[in-house]
């Protein structure tokens, strides 16, 4: 096992002793953690949270094992004080999977459990709102089960046999027209059918509607749909809002409009083929996505990443953080009504960084830069008419810190920004942890939790930087945390540029196009600009992953959107959403 990879090992030895009835250690080769009986799950999870202190449920996901006719639900819990996590699983019968819901203990599980219900058909007992979340409601089947086939399905695993050596080109839509693999629910009639999600969503929030806000005004309650096509939703994202006058009474996010079954694609792909697909998740931070995926697979492979590659990785990832935060701040201001000027000032600096990415990796946003055991290319000798190292030194030592200071001067003390942001969308620390909020959202609520410090990966333990927190948990604090974090990222970049070894390997071993990954499971996570990005990978020792799950920070952070928006004006909803900073490529996957 690589010393620098994040580890989810070192479980407390006493968990199985604590619950002799329902807990056994997971002894499958390459697996870790415990298998908990469904009947004991609530009790065990309660003890894990309250007695052992694993108060942060990072990821919940499912894995299909048709051979043993089981669907496994995998939980990864961590402590916000830092350190390795605890991994526990529940196995359910594949024909009728039922698992108790953990939403009561960890509200952050709400959307993730809905996703498992959607993708695997696992019913969660006691879940407050168990509906499909990414697929549409008339959809039949469970797309992540191993026996499910998509339209235009060709083969279970890539590479497809039809490509070589007898590659007769054909376009899939011509040879396999949409139809053969499309399933509809029984008795489905497209003309008569009304989407259940719609009625369900209105039913859910309707009882709370009614007249009067208790004050002196007589107001009507009104349901408003913001999105999916609405500029302030940052993509195709929809919020169903119940308003009392202008005040938000309830809010339900609706997502999945950009769903492409990324995880199923990932399970058809070979391990290496997934790397460019991760670029398309949070497309503003492709380098970070590469990094997280590389870490989780490297952990299984046990590769040691060469020194220079580690430095290059950290440099790229920290520059990405600056890009992403610049974008977030710029477009938060757009959401506030300061159209384009702050956004353009912010992304102007991003332009320089993207130029650097393009010169090094070959693409501005879809970088596809990292490989298992290193990176794909070393720095180029020159960038335009300048030596690359000179360009980098100039960028991180002068230009970026100046730009951040300027942005700070431009916005931070603006009375308009302050009056729109201070006290809006307040998220207390306990709630932030309970809802599994991550990244700047969590740290703006005063929780000192940054994976680079709490569970160091790569070579972050070598650099001097602060974990930025703010106490109030409102939109303004999230803005300030992003400004602070950019400064810290610049500091890290300065140390990287100064300390980077010249020359040396950038990839461990020979470049391999078909890596075999030893059997086992691995959860690699990094501090993405948006929050904790995790990849849960299960390998069976072959060239394609058995399970490839993305714990997307934007997706999990949306769980608390409704909670945070309640009681605010409808105009603030847009700002609160902007301060959470979502990217729909990652939310919908």
């Amino acid at each position: 096992m690589s010393a620098t990879a994040p580890t989810v090992a070192a479980v407390p030895a006493n968990l199985a002793e604590h619950f002799p009835a329902g807990v056994v250690a997971d002894t499958r080769k390459g697996y870790e953690g415990y298998v908990v009986g469904a009947a004991q799950l609530l009790q065990v999870a309660g003890a894990i949270r309250d007695k052992l202190g694993y108060n942060y449920l990072s990821s919940v996901t499912g894995v299909d094992y048709p051979e043993s006719n089981q669907i496994e639900v995998v939980y990864h819990a961590f402590k916000t004080s830092g350190g390795p996590g605890l991994n526990f699983k529940v196995q359910a019968d594949r024909n009728d999977p039922v698992v108790p819901s953990l939403v009561g203990l960890y509200p952050g599980a709400e959307f993730q459990e809905r996703e498992i219900f959607d993708m695997y058909g696992v019913r969660f007992d006691g879940h407050p709102d168990l509906r499909r979340i990414l697929m549409w409601d008339g959809f039949a089947g469970y797309p992540l089960r191993k026996d499910w086939k998509e339209p235009f399905f060709e083969e279970d695993l890539k590479p497809f046999a039809s490509r070589w050596p007898g590659g007769d080109v054909r376009r899939s839509e011509e040879s396999d027209p949409f139809g053969a693999n499309v399933q509809y629910p029984p008795e489905f009639d497209p003309y008569e059918w009304t989407p259940e999600t719609e009625t369900a969503i209105y039913k859910l929030i309707q009882p709370k509607a009614g007249n009067g806000n208790g004050g002196h005004l007589k107001t009507d309650k009104l349901i408003v749909n913001i999105g999916p096509q609405h500029p302030s939703t940052h993509g195709v994202f929809r919020m169903v809002v119940v308003l009392d006058g202008e005040t938000v009474v309830d809010l339900k996010p609706v997502m999945g409009y950009l769903h492409r079954n990324h995880e199923k694609i990932g399970e058809r792909n070979t391990f290496l083929q997934n790397m460019p697909y991760t670029d398309r998740l949070d497309y503003l931070a492709s380098m970070s996505n590469n990094h997280a995926y590389a870490l989780s697979v490297e952990r299984l492979m046990g590769v040691k990443v060469p020194e220079r590659a580690e430095y290059l990785r950290v440099l790229m990832v920290e520059l990405t953080r600056i890009c992403s935060h610049m974008w977030a701040i710029g477009f938060l201001l757009n959401d506030l009504g300061a159209f384009q000027t702050p956004a353009l000032y912010a992304i102007k600096e991003r332009e320089l960084i993207l130029d650097f990415f393009e010169a090094t990796a070959g693409s501005r946003m879809m970088c596809n830069y990292m490989r298992f055991g290193g990176v794909s290319r070393d720095l180029p000798a020159a960038l335009r008419d300048e030596n690359t190292m000179d360009f980098l030194r100039d960028l991180v030592n002068n230009r970026l810190s100046y730009a951040i200071d300027e942005l700070d001067r431009f916005l931070t003390h603006s009375e308009i920004l302050r009056s729109r942001c201070i006290g809006v969308g307040v998220l207390p620390a306990e709630k932030a942890i309970a809802y599994s909020a991550a990244g700047p959202l969590l740290r703006a609520s005063g929780v000192d939790y940054d994976l680079r410090r709490a569970d160091p990966y790569s070579i972050y333990d070598r650099f001097d930087f602060n974990v930025c927190t703010r106490p109030n948990g409102d939109v303004y604090d999230r803005y300030l945390v992003r400004i602070d974090e950019m400064r810290e990222s610049v500091r890290i970049c300065q140390q990287v540029v100064a300390g980077m070894p010249t020359g040396g390997e950038i990839l461990a071993g020979k470049p391999q196009y078909n890596v075999r990954v030893p059997a086992g499971e691995s959860y690699g996570r990094v501090e993405n600009p948006k929050g904790e990005l995790g990849f849960y990978v299960v390998s069976t020792g072959k060239t394609n992953p058995w399970r490839y799950h993305v714990r997307a920070p934007s997706f999990v952070n949306l769980t608390l959107l409704g909670e945070v928006c309640k009681g605010h004006k409808i105009a603030d909803v847009v700002v609160i959403l902007g301060s959470i900073d979502i990217v729909l490529g990652e939310v919908d996957r």
């Binding site: 890539k158 070589w164 693409s363 003390h413």
Partner: protein, 212 residues
Amino acid sequence: MYGSGILAGLGVTLKHFIDSYVDDLKFLGQRYYNPASLNQRQGTRGKGVFTVQFPEEKLPTPERFRFIPFLLYDEKPDGTHDDRCTSCGICAKVCPPQCIWIKRSNDPVTGRPVPQPAAFYIDIDICMNCGYCAEYCPFDAIKMDHDYELASFDRTSAHIFDKQKLDKPVAYYASLRPTDYAAEELVRAEEEAKKAAKKADAASKAAAPVAV
């Protein structure tokens, strides 16, 4: 003072406004359509706006920029083309969206596979420009292009590039990526030399009288 924050912010806007004219003065009307100015405008020293007057003026693509693969051939002295591709199929196997189709050719007499593609297709609608084909090709036979202006009126047949459309001379590649080309040629020359030495070695061994 209430309002001082807004005023300070407006000061920043004013500074940006003035800065956008400083470059103009410096280049005296030569700010656009001028490579020297473009480097200054788009670099770390650029203080004004980053605007590029597309399409009259285009951002130069860096050497490593990747957009849609193409196939390389060496030109023989007699003018015929010598494909570098041996139809080994590694690019088709590594391609993440599986957009490469290769038909291997067989010897008409023996029926054995011949190291040459009979047909080679890339569906550019499916290609995700990841660059794996170029990265993992052991023969430097497939490389990523720089030509990103591919819009066409027909998305069916026009977007499936066949071998004729994909084939480009090595000289074209050398002009796109001079640094990579030089490095690769160095490695190729070394390998050639090694092979030649081995051959010579074997030949001299064979020619030498066998000691009894």
